[in-house]
């Protein structure tokens, strides 16, 4: 260990303020604090003494994401070999998935950290840990076949416009990972929706699978039924997929055996991560629970009217599809962009879930309504907090007047 320490000590003069390579200071500092415990402590004033700092919070979230990430990796391989009708073992699937997923992760981290390091150097502060989580979230909410440069452009945009313009980690109004996805969704719709991108159908020698193989997501298929009217034969073919025996059955959707963005499919493993977050006190259970209730209420209202098959879907089934679960556990709970007050969190979560399902069903062109709803509520969160605080002030003023 000593020689690693020596490397850091020897290179430090080079990167310090008047050193020749001071542009690398943030990078040097980031790697050093990752390798060793930082030696600076608070010097003055009263401080809460707690083992949990930004670094530990972020790493906890990453641990919570790992099950869903590994499942996504396996699912990429399973869907790929399934599309060719080939038999594949667990190891085959995971290796194929890793080959697809690792470049995405590396590109995201390189692009995002590049921007972060540049701004850290410009603003003379160490690199924050904030991007650790965003950089892993972004690949998990992208389709497997998206070109890597699109991911890089979206990530740079998200870090620049979603975060750095507001002042960096902790100041952002919007969730950076969702900003990246929203950017990609509007900028490159062909690679972010439709039925071509969710399953990798390029064979080992580079050829494409024969035409006619549909790799749509469950929501994409559902959207095609809208406007066809009930009882239409093609609608019934689609809806059969949602029955207990179909590809998109409630059980398959819950376990995650369906096409979709890489990390979003498995509701079960996402919930496991969510439980871990709540248990560790990092994620807010209020947001998760109210988000779920909000989505459920909206889906139940649609279900009661059910003018088309999309609305008629069982509310619980509706919530298991698409990015609802992933948004609930990992996106809406972002401590910076969510509401801060206790009551505010309940309102924020409820409305995000509520609007998410509403956008998804009302406008089938935006199957990922959850993304737009969470971003919208991110913007509204300070307003919610403001009124919650005002209400509290009023209540206490009244109590004082009556006393």
């Amino acid at each position: 260990m000593k020689f690693v320490q020596n490397i850091f000590d020897q290179t430090r003069p080079l990167v310090e303020k008047d050193g020749k390579r001071n542009i690398f200071y943030p990078l040097h500092n980031a790697i050093e604090t990752m390798a060793f415990v930082p030696d600076h402590t608070a010097h003055s004033g009263a401080h809460v003494r707690d083992a949990i700092d930004l670094k530990r919070t972020m790493v906890t979230v990453i641990f919570a994401m790992v099950p869903a990430l590994l499942f996504g990796m396996w699912n990429i391989g399973r869907l790929h070999f399934g599309a060719f009708g080939e038999e594949s073992t667990l190891i085959d699937n995971v290796i194929f998935g890793a080959m697809k997923l690792l470049p995405l992760i590396i590109v995201t981290y390189a692009a995002g950290l590049g921007v972060e390091i540049y701004f850290s150097w410009k603003r003379n502060h160490p690199v924050n840990e904030g991007f650790l989580v965003s950089g892993l979230l972004i690949p998990m909410i992208m389709p497997v076949d998206i070109p890597l440069w699109m991911v890089a452009v979206s990530t740079i945009f998200a870090v620049l416009i979603g975060k750095e313009v507001f002042g960096g980690t902790g100041m952002n109004l919007l969730n950076p990972a969702l900003t990246a996805r929203a950017f990609a969704f509007f900028a490159y719709p062909t690679w972010m929706s439709g039925d071509k991108v969710w399953i990798n159908t390029t064979s080992a020698d580079g050829g494409q699978l024969v035409d006619g193989y549909s790799g749509a997501t469950a929501l994409g298929d559902l959207a095609t039924t809208v406007g066809q009217g009930l009882g239409n034969p093609s609608t019934e073919t689609v809806m059969a997929q949602f029955g207990p025996e179909g590809t998109y059955s409630l059980m398959n959707a819950f376990l995650g055996l369906i096409p979709g963005s890489i990390g979003e499919t498995s509701a079960a493993l996402i919930l496991l991560g969510g439980l871990f977050l709540v248990f560790k006190g990092v994620g807010s259970w209020r947001i998760m629970v109210s988000f779920f209730i909000g989505g459920f209420v909206m889906a139940a209202i649609f279900n009661a009217f059910a003018v088309n098959e999309f609305m008629g879907l069982n509310p619980l089934h509706q919530l298991m599809l698409g990015g609802f679960m992933f948004g609930m556990v990992f996106m809406a709970t972002d401590p910076v962009s969510a509401a801060q007050t206790t009551t505010g969190k309940l309102i924020y979560g409820f409305l995000a879930g509520f609007f998410g399902i509403m956008i998804r069903v009302f406008n089938p062109a935006y199957p990922e309504g959850i993304m737009l709803a969470i971003l919208f509520m991110n913007v509204m969160a300070p307003l919610i907090d403001h009124y919650v605080v005002e209400a509290n002030v009023k209540r206490r003023a009244k109590r004082l007047a009556n006393a």
Binding site: W149, I161, V165, T190
Partner: protein, 224 residues
């Protein structure tokens, strides 16, 4: 009116030059005063309409400024806004008819936005703030200066949006067609950024121009 002795000022004195130059950077109508944003978002998808729009605004603002300045001592204070509106409206109708006659396609693309020059805050703003209190030559220079400041931003935004959103400039293909990804053939590596075709992206581009301008010109940063 005024009793002070007027000293003759040369046509392009320092002060008059300032009238032309100021709106370009320190007092830019879009990036500093944040006026005329609506048209900057609406007609900057392509470069051509943006250029035509800038020229139209230049004509309306310069001519309007001169007219208002000439009649500034005749306008009753209480109805001055109505008088200003009449002047802008007549000028805008002229522009609109001219475009319909000589540049029909562009006029179609600009659609209602030619008419909406009337509500462009820059124009009424300059009438109120400048033309009502200055002579015609100065008002003319001020009109030209402000419309150039407006046009430069408009054209810069349209340039970025057309290049990245459609891969073209003034309707001519700039990005080689062979670069585009063809999913069926599996060739190419590039794709247009569809986000640049939406108005929100224009707002973000204007924001980034403001960011860059303030980074260079630090006296624009407010104290708080």
């Amino acid at each position: 009116m005024s009793t002070e002795v007027k000293t003759k000022e040369s046509l392009f004195s320092k002060k008059n030059q300032q009238l032309l130059k100021d709106p370009f950077n320190d007092n830019n109508p879009i990036t500093v005063q944040v006026l005329g944003i609506c048209s900057a978002l609406a007609i900057t998808v392509k470069l051509e309409p943006a250029i035509v729009m800038s020229l139209s605004v230049m004509f309306v603002l310069a001519a309007g400024n001169v007219i208002i300045s000439l009649i500034r001592n005749l306008i009753p204070n209480r109805i001055r806004i109505i008088v200003q509106l009449v002047v802008v409206a007549s000028l805008v109708i002229l522009v609109d008819q001219f475009l319909k006659a000589f540049a029909y396609d562009v006029s179609k693309q600009l659609s209602v936005f030619v008419g909406l020059i009337i509500t462009n805050c820059i124009i009424m703003g300059r009438f109120e703030a400048f033309a009502l209190g200055n002579g015609p030559w100065k008002a003319f220079l001020d009109g030209i200066g402000n419309s150039i400041g407006y046009g430069v931003i408009l054209i810069a935004v349209a340039f970025v949006r057309e290049l990245l959103g459609s891969g073209q400039l003034l309707g001519a293909q700039i990005i080689p067609l062979s670069w585009y990804i063809d999913m069926d053939k599996g060739t190419g590596f590039y794709a247009n950024n569809g986000f640049f075709l939406f108005p929100p992206m224009a707002l973000i581009v204007v924001g980034m121009i403001i960011w860059a301008q303030r980074a260079k010109n630090t006296k624009l940063i407010e104290e708080n």
